[in-house]
């Protein structure tokens, strides 16, 4: 049975929750608006709000620090209280410094991250959509075994993969190139799984048969009829790939040695290593502002496409 399901069709996580009683179908309609359940509450309102607020502050603590830190210069970071603003503010100087420091390499990193994330998410989504289509709509030998085998590899730890991958890439000359980061990231077993489930539910087999009777070719059916029906699935998988690629750290760390090819995550950590090393020029103010900037695209994606994002993430639980 399926461990995960795309939540846009059904509720997320319900793959693991027993279905309601069969009587559901004929049961009288539930009350129209969800209401608070009265009765003896296990956690009275006040206590509940205290707990929730405490956790809210905990979640927001790093964000608070970073928002304060990005308005300070390096001296103020060490000499003033970390969770409150200092005067004079240095936000604009930090911004100017961030984009010009070391010949504006930060801007380059930002661009690199965009290139990596966009190409990986587009490529991987297309590959997974095609593969998922094959598993959903066709029969071929060893289909079940192959599908389970591919899914099983989700458990292989990334380190087990990346180190030998580095040696292989080294032999074929892809180390220290953008392709060395992009090509291995196209492999996304979980994306394939999600796509298969989306194809199962979004593209009825009857429609496919009807198109065949009309004389449409197999490729035509996929591109012209199938893909347009898959909007939710495509956006979900593309978004998950984008976030995974944007956040990727380990693969670039191993594959890249030339700093002009770094993505943001790696670049900022190199600045941190240099700042913390003896004799290194501390640029913690740039790192703080840079961290904020590196999170912005994700925040925007989160706000604009939150529905897909939360859906896709709760559908699966492995980390990219």
């Amino acid at each position: 049975m399926a461990l995960k399901q795309p939540p846009s069709q059904t509720g997320p996580g319900d793959a693991t929750v027993p279905a309601g009683p069969p009587g559901n179908v004929i049961a009288p309609a539930p009350p129209p608006a969800p209401r608070e359940y009265a009765g003896v509450s296990p956690a009275p309102g006040v206590l509940r709000n205290i707990v929730l607020t405490a956790f809210l502050l905990y979640c927001l603590l790093p964000a608070t620090w970073i928002i304060v830190a990005m308005t300070k210069d390096n001296g103020q970071l060490f000499s003033t209280f970390g969770l409150w603003f200092a005067s004079p503010p240095h936000f604009l100087e930090n911004l100017a410094g961030l984009v010009t420091y070391q010949n504006g390499i930060f801007v380059r990193w930002f661009g690199n991250s965009l290139v990596y994330a966009l190409s990986i998410s587009l490529g991987s989504t297309l590959i997974c959509a095609m593969g998922g289509y094959a598993f959903s709509k066709y029969d071929f030998p060893a289909k079940g075994f192959l599908f389970n085998f591919i899914l099983g590899t989700i458990m292989v730890p990334s380190t087990a993969l990346v180190l030998p991958l580095f040696l292989m890439l080294n032999k074929i000359g892809l180390v220290n190139t953008m392709w060395g980061v992009i090509l291995p990231s196209l492999v996304n077993p979980f994306g394939l799984y999600l796509m298969k489930v989306f194809w199962d539910s979004s593209f009825p087999n009857d429609l496919m048969e009807a198109a065949r009777l009309e004389g449409a070719g197999e490729g035509q059916i996929f591109w012209r009829i199938g893909l347009p029906l898959m909007q939710t699935g495509l956006v979900t998988v593309a978004l998950l790939c984008f976030v995974g690629a944007w956040n990727n750290f380990f693969l670039p760390l191993i594959v890249l040695s030339q700093d002009s090819l770094y993505p943001l995550t790696l670049g900022l950590n190199v600045w941190n290593s240099v700042s913390s090393a003896a004799g290194g020029k501390p640029v913690y103010n740039f790192i703080a502002l840079g961290s904020m900037v590196s999170v912005l695209p994700l925040l925007i994606a989160f706000i604009v496409l939150g529905r897909y994002w939360r859906g896709g993430l709760t559908a699966g639980a492995t980390k990219g």
């Binding site: 809210l56 790093p62 996929f222 956040n247 939360r310 980390k319």
Partner: protein
Amino acid sequence: MRQHRKTALLFLAPFLTVFVAFYLAPVCYAIYLSLFIRRRVGIGPAKEVFGGLANYFRAVQDADFLNGLKNMFMFGVVQVPIMLGLAVALALLLDQSRGLFMKVCRTVFFMPYGIPTAIGALIWGYLYSPNLSPFNQILSALHRGTIDFLSPALVLFSIANIVTWTWTGYNMITLFAALQNIPKELYEAARVDGATQWDIVRSIKIPLLMPTLKLLFIFSVIGTSQLFTEAFVLRPLGYVADNITPNLYLYLTAARDANYSYAGALAVLLALLIFVISGPFLRRIGSQ
């Protein structure tokens, strides 16, 4: 239908190509490499020679590797239950009522998951760092001395805190979704029978959460076994031992010591260990 079989293969070809080239091949290569050992033959530099399972025998006796595994075991029995317990509690609280505050909580709790691990760990690193930490600024303002969160004694807890911060909300959202899927008629029926809210939580909600919880537990254990970025990012800021997690040790064995064959053996062992631990769980959940 034969013709369709060929079409299926065409659709599958791009995925299979990258899968074989960048997934299967490296795994096989790691296994192959792990069978070699470096040995000095006569005069001259060390050479890679076939060593059978020598690397594996070395690995199971390697104190550094075992120390990493021990730390991960501690994570599994301390951090994972705390995180999941917190997630269950928060999901139950959020399930109790509606409103704007609840919606804000849900969104904000979930947000740390969206922050790149390398960036989240970096920010926490500054919150821990002796010279920058606002906690220590408060403590010294109160004349209570300072705490070095990145000292050898505390660093594992500091990493555990970063992981908890990142993942609690994610787990909470999944549990919350599962709670939302429980048919409300069950609550109505229980209330008719005179059940209190506590009874409902204890005998309906928690039991129905168990399958989701088990799945989250096993995914958390897999995540724990792969812990790397947090430890790696904190290294320049404090005293993070090379052997604090198996993955960091494995990385250093390869990247710093250039001992790829031994690193390969460690990687294979780690993957096997994860399979052994999580396989039975997943099969049981899968068969339900």
